[in-house]
Symmetry: C2
């Protein structure tokens, strides 16, 4: 196995030496997509323009079998959104509707605020305390390198609205699921579960949430005027954009990689997830520019991830029965890869030894626990596809995630280049390894 | 003079030991004013509520002669503001109207963009290149500790609109005069000079300005739809809130200090300028709580600074003939005092030796050049009042200045406390010095 590693290193150096700086493919994707398309909300004409852009770019880069695989989805779009404390201290607050939020009448609603420090307090509250009021849940969140805090604290966004609705709340405001202190609220999807009726649901920016906390703490009843006019526009087309690096051995199974093409509508989706497209595409391009690999790399720019993983589900529906050797996705920003995790049928797989050595030489060590992929490749992981997570540093990810601040200037090119190098190193190992990469038992998706 | 210094130090320690933590007076002003009033645009009902709040707080703190001195001013208020690139890459941009901006029709205007890297390029452009277009000036600005970059780079905001108007532009957009990379545009005042007709004038956030630069650089004509509907609402009352620490010697001249009560409308005016009120008031409160000083301290929370220094002019008109021993203002955020400057008639004044020793012991040394005060005390400096600048660190000031991000969470309490300590040290020296502090020759205001 050391021979393969050495060969891979040599190829990497050769590829770097014989072409333009390898980082340009990646950075140019982030720069181009965020500049020439900008936001690309799932199922909208902006996402359609992004698909056109994607096909042109992937063809220009020389990938094979570039095509769009369309699917349909229900589409939600943002409307007007304003909030103003009426009493005791009149002032405007900055907020953003959450995905699938219900709407107020055009003229808005005025109601008293009932505040909770976290989701558990909301759950425990008697319905009578909540009914007819605007619920405010101010769940704080801390930054973590591995992003693990998103799971726990994100529940305020994912399930808070349904809980508030089921208790008869007029609307719900949450503290943004974010770790910054800017007046840029963090949107994100939530679904109405267990028959909950849609109500207006929005995130206050962190400074606004802290302001509302202080005002509530003064002890006087707080009344708020809220206008949110988002709407469902019906069923519209989205699609996955697919490109390939053809392999020599069609029976060796596909290596499925990618990120998502759609973005939230507030920023230009630079870190979420033009960066993931950039990283996976730039790494695949280096394989494309070298000797033909054993396995085919299938690169997918998934559509409609943010609104509920529609692209990942559509991919699995269309391709789930094909042989997939391995899968990995990049959907955690543009910062450096700091560790990796795997989930293979054979924990003593020679591939694992090889990967550990190759990535370890870059300073990327094995993490504890199993890889689980993300929303887009999740359906394929559930079907038993072996998976690798190249984990990127999430320390500043939730400062920016799902906000208007997700723009090109947040990309740190040195870190982006490191992530591309790590992905290239990983791909060079997995596309040519003779390891058969047995399928795993089907498993529930963890994330 | 060393005896006085030692006495001052002893008093400071005694005062600190005998009362609540001295920093609370300051922080509580920033916290209270930003929470219970929030934004307080000059001449509006919000600024009137702020005056009511100010009088109550200053009386509660025990200051003497607390009163409002009203004046009238023309009032400008923000309306709707949207910008959308129509071609070649449709997308929304984030912007904020500049003070005194003209308005578009309700339905907005659509015009071609003509971009300039700085103000000199706009000045040099033939009128025909600008006429009927939306001018874009993308003057970059770097952060400086002393804030000196604001003078040069701020010209794009202060004079760009009038230049664009005089050349027949349909509107002007500037890159925010700011040093951050958030989607929070920096507003600020500008005046229509030399007969320039008001046109719509707004600042793009820095990421939006960089986005527009990139789009222009693609080489295709860029068309933008712009809606800005601010308006002048007529002449309305504003006012200065004044409080005093009475001195023993009414002939020794008043020590005039303060900051400004009004704020821009986008944030809650925490660093600009609740912090200045906090610093000057907390320092004056320490004098109030000690032995009666020789000189009276007159603390002014000036009204309507942002829109053109109306409060400072009104003060000078009302009090300009009274004897003022010295003046100083705090209007540069909440961060630490790193150096000081003076402008005295006698450059060898014993007071200067004393100040240098007392502030030097805190790590605050003398800077080069003369003090010049700021907008509020400027009219008194012009009349020859000796002036001290306690210069606060401006490295991060223009990240936040005039944006929605000017909120309480930006206050670093340790730095705020240091600034209060520096002001207290300065006041202890100047309120009791026997130095007669001769008036300066009348001088033009530098800032």
């Amino acid at each position: 196995m050391r021979a393969l590693f050495s060969a891979a290193t040599a190829l990497l150096l050769a590829s770097s030496a014989s072409s333009a700086p390898p980082s340009d493919v990646g950075y140019d994707i982030v720069e181009g997509l965020t500049t020439e398309v900008g936001q690309r909300l799932a199922g909208t004409e902006a996402e359609a323009r992004a698909r056109t852009w994607a096909v042109a770019r992937l063809k220009a880069l020389g990938f094979a079998n570039v095509r769009v695989e369309p699917f349909d989805m229900p589409v939600w779009v943002r409307g007007g959104e304003t909030a103003e404390i009426v009493a005791p201290f009149p002032q405007k607050l900055v907020l953003a509707a959450l995905g699938n939020s219900g709407a107020t009448p055009e003229a808005g609603i005025t109601a008293e605020i009932v505040g909770f420090p976290g989701l558990d307090a909301l759950k425990a509250a008697p319905d009578a305390e909540v009914r007819g009021k605007i619920v405010f849940v101010s769940h704080r969140m801390t930054a973590t390198q591995d992003g693990s805090s998103y799971g726990y604290f994100g529940a305020a966004r994912r399930t808070g609205p349904s809980i508030a609705s089921s208790k008869g709340a007029a609307a719900i405001l949450i503290r943004s699921i974010g770790t910054d202190h800017h007046r840029v609220p963090h949107t994100g999807v939530q679904d109405w579960t267990n028959g909950a009726k849609p109500i207006p649901a929005a995130a206050l920016s962190v400074p606004d949430a802290e302001q509302l906390e202080r005002i509530i703490a003064r002890g006087k009843p707080v009344r708020l005027h809220l206008t949110l006019t988002p709407r469902m526009t019906g069923i519209h087309p989205s699609g996955n954009v697919i490109a390939e690096v053809p392999g020599r051995d069609s029976k060796a199974g596909v290596v499925l990689i990618g990120g998502h093409l759609d973005s939230w509508d507030l920023g230009t989706g630079a870190i979420d997830d033009a960066a993931g497209l950039a990283i996976t595409t730039a790494a695949a391009k280096r394989i494309l520019d070298g000797p033909k690999p054993k396995r085919t790399i299938r690169l997918v720019w998934f559509g409609a991830e943010e609104e509920g993983g529609f692209g990942g589900k559509a991919y699995a529906k269309a391709h789930g029965t094909e042989k997939h050797a391995l899968t990995a996705e990049a959907d955690f920003g543009a910062d450096r890869v700091w560790q990796f995790r795997t989930h293979f049928a054979d924990a003593k797989s020679p591939l694992l030894t090889e990967l550990t050595s190759a990535l370890g030489d870059m300073g990327v060590g094995p993490g504890s626990g199993a890889a689980h992929g993300g929303t887009d490749i999740g359906p394929m992981v559930e079907r038993g596809t072996p998976v690798i997570d190249l984990e990127q540093d999430g320390t500043r990810y939730f400062d920016i995630h799902h906000t208007a601040d997700d723009t090109l200037d947040k990309i740190d090119r040195a870190q982006l280049d490191q992530a591309i190098d790590a992905w290239t190193t990983m791909l060079r190992v997995v596309v040519d390894t003779p390891d058969p990469l047995s399928a795993l038992p089907a498993q529930p998706q963890e994330d």
